[in-house]
Amino acid sequence: MTQNASTHGRQQHYSVPQPAPWPIMGSAALLLMAIGGVFVMNGTRAGWASIGAGFLLLVYMMVRWFGDVIRESEGGKYGGWEDLSFRWGMSWFIFSEVMFFGAFFAALFWARVYSVPDLGSIESNALMWPGFAPRWPSAGPAFEEQFTPMAAWGIPAINTLLLLSSGVTVTLAHWALKENDRRQLVLFLALTVALGVLFIGLQAYEYGHAIRELNLKLSTGIYGSTFYMLTGFHGFHVTCGAIMLTVILVRCIRGHFTPDHHFGFEGVAWYWHFVDVVWLGLFIFVYWL
């Protein structure tokens, strides 16, 4: 190998990281959380200790692992070739997340198109559930309490506006970064985080309202199941996204990233747009239609 690829005008060496103990630490953390989770769900409160220990270990692992990556990035280890890897990697990670949401959307559509209408069919009425009228929202034929479905044009509409605005502000921050206008970058990024936190706050308020005043709970039949699973899973993603944005904000304040080398920023921005788009799907199919 005396010749190499220099004639192709491409970076020659791909940076392969040195051995690290972080991955197995992450696995151990997940194992602790899983074992603790099983015990808590089955009524053994001691499981909380295992969940807590696992969670702390997970946070420590992420701080150290991401810390290594940030140091490597700021130390100039990553050129255009590695950058392209990160772009492919993040894109396909987001694709897998879309498929994860797809499973829960499938449950929603299945309930609305097949299972609830079927339960109200003539055969079903005659054989199993007399008098069950199929309409959406439905908590199923055996659900006997009253509940009020969540209206679209209150907090959910405001939340839509908040998330869409945060998509704009994160783009403005990106433009500022590319212009090397650090003041505007920090300003718009902080605004994005604030909008995200506000969204989470309103979502939490809405849950409280739903549980106390609307009698809408996770156990409110298929409507409650799909409502809380979809919005809860999305809310979890927004929370992760907001934490990621906060890390990027701190890094921006510390002077990380340059106008032409900032995939950490872009990857988080992509993720933020992804939770934004998922929310639009939620707003339309869970709240509105």
């Binding site: 060496h13 197995i24 696995s27 280890k77 897998s96 499973a103 199941s225």
Partner: protein, 530 residues
């Protein structure tokens, strides 16, 4: 040349392992060859565990009546045998091949995300721990079948929850691995290694990785809904609350059918390397192989409900899924044709890898044909949940995927270890495996056609003869794999030194551009290809 492969001390070509030694080398490694080795040994361990379960199952079925295990434990064994063999043995085996081979075959320095690669592997032993723990819980491991259908899953004990979390970890491992493989193939190819010059093994893994990305999250969603149905009062799979147990089956099989090709496509890839090498001819119809693999992958997303003909779906749905399923025979037929055409007028020799590849070719095709039989709605209504189905998918999984894995091991072992395995013992291993495999599974076709249901520990006297033959085959098959372990250990410890290219007809980069045994770091600078 100076490499920037980023280790603590020296740089360049020596065989050092970064900053850690001993066991910590394996725990912290970011080297694709180390990680490939870990995958392969883990998969062999799980193959042993799942195999022992299979032997206990067959021991119970040796005679009618209940001998060794009670029906509940029997169900736990069939469930865990399926989960462990699919997620613990076969999938990790092919990811092990991917780790070893893809960077070497495309001229890359390592996998694109080397640390993440380590995590993809090290999630697996922890997931296996969760599965093992489920046996120790009150109520034992889940006895619901590997498909984990609702509403049975709602009735299980804590073991079910452990299994659900284990599936989450296994899914994470697969998704991270798939992202890594896609990025490596798309971004780390050496200059001149265009997509349509990649060895077919690399192509099959690229497509497999997309399948994994699309379906593993869906499985995670399915088991998550099972978990909330069990513990948090949701009613996704409960008709009383407006949900539907059939929904579970749809979501599961949307994962489950592509999963078959997750196992099969890398096997096709290995066979597509081995057959040309021992035919001393290039692969016949390379481009059509790529298209056929893609077509199989795409079709695999629209055939899932052929697992559900008797669940209760409209006739129009049955017809759609029947025709779509039969359509898969076309690209699969293209592949089988191309393998045979590669051998046509070739200069054939029959070393162990080629024997396993030929065994694959015959028996995988047989498994494909019984798949066509089962794809027909009226036939399947008779045969569903009988031993005919068991025979069918074991011809695909064992005679297909496992034979391809053996072919790949014997093919690449000289490259990896620098030493030759014992050819005579290899051939004995092949013939023993071939004979015992058919003893186990061929007779199960007759049992299924005669109406013996699967997942039942007892059966009427009329089924006894075939069951005895099948069980004897299983015991023999298990013993034959001890011979395999001996062959591998003997090769590593005292095999004769292997030349750079022990197989005359092999032509991918690991044979043509790298010494034997391959150095710890290969292609730190990309090779120049013409």
């Amino acid at each position: 040349m100076s490499a920037v492969i980023d280790h603590d001390h020296a740089h360049g070509h020596h065989d050092h392992h970064g900053g850690y030694g001993g066991i910590m080398r394996w725990i912290t490694t970011t080297n694709h060859k180390d990680i490939g080795t870990l995958y392969l040994w883990f998969s062999f361990l799980m193959f042993g565990v799942g195999g022992i379960m299979a032997v206990v199952i067959r021991a119970e079925l040796f005679s009618p009546g209940l001998q060794f295990v009670n029906p509940d434990f029997f169900n736990q064994l069939t469930t865990m045998h399926g989960l462990i063999m699919i997620f613990g043995a076969i999938m990790p085996a092919f990811v092990g091949f991917a780790n070893w081979q893809i960077p070497m075959m495309i001229g890359a320095p390592d996998m694109a995300f080397a640390r993440l690669n380590n995590w993809s592997f090290w999630l697996l032993p922890f997931a296996a721990t969760l599965l093992a723990l489920s046996f120790l819980m009150p109520g034992g491991a889940p006895g619901v079948g590997w498909t984990m259908y609702a509403p049975l899953t709602v009735q299980m004990g804590m073991g079910m929850d452990f299994t659900i979390f284990a599936v989450h970890l296994l899914g994470m491992s697969s998704i991270l691995g798939a992202i890594n493989i896609i990025t490596t193939i798309l971004n780390l190819r050496a200059p001149g290694m265009t997509l349509l010059r990649m060895p077919l093994f690399v192509w099959t893994w690229l497509i497999t990785a997309y399948l994994l990305l699309a379906v593993m999250p869906v499985l995670a969603g399915a088991v998550t809904m099972t978990l909330t149905d069990r513990h948090f009062g949701t009613t996704f799979f409960n008709a009383a609350g407006g949900g539907d147990p059939v929904l579970y089956q749809h979501i599961f099989w949307f994962f489950g059918h592509p999963e078959v090709y997750v196992v099969a496509l890398p096997a096709f890839g290995v066979i597509s390397q081995v057959i040309p090498a021992f035919s001393r001819k290039p692969l016949f119809g390379y481009a059509s192989m790529v298209y056929a693999t893609s077509a199989i992958a795409i079709l695999s997303f629209i055939v899932w409900a052929h697992h559900m003909y008797t669940t209760g779906i409209p006739v129009s749905g049955q017809l759609f899924f029947m025709y779509a399923t039969i359509l898969i025979a076309v690209p699969t037929g293209v592949k089988v044709f191309n393998w045979v055409a590669t051998m046509w007028k070739g200069s054939l020799s029959f070393e162990t890898p080629m024997l396993f590849a030929l065994g694959f070719l015959f028996m995988f095709t047989l498994g494909g044909f019984t798949g066509l039989v089962l794809a027909l709605v009226p036939v399947d209504i008779q045969l569903q949940d009988t031993y005919y189905v068991v025979a069918h998918f074991h011809y695909v999984m064992v005679a297909g995927a496992l034979f391809a894995a053996f072919a790949g091991i014997y093919f690449w072992l000289p490259k990896w270890t620098g030493k030759m395995y014992d050819e005579t013992l290899g051939k004995i291993h092949f013939w023993l495996t071939l004979v015992f495999l058919n003893m186990i599974f061929f007779v199960q076709h007759f049992l299924g056609l005669a109406g013996m249901p699967r997942r039942i520990p007892d059966y009427p006297l009329m089924f006894e003869t075939w069951n005895k033959i099948s069980s004897l085959g299983a015991f023999g098959m298990g013993l034959a794999q001890l011979l395999f372990l001996y062959i591998v250990v003997k090769c590593i410890r005292s095999g004769a030194p292997a030349p750079q290219k022990p197989w005359e007809g092999a032509d991918s980069l690991e044979w043509t551009h790298l010494p034997t045994p391959v150095p710890y770091h290969s292609f730190e600078t990309p090779p120049v290809l013409h």
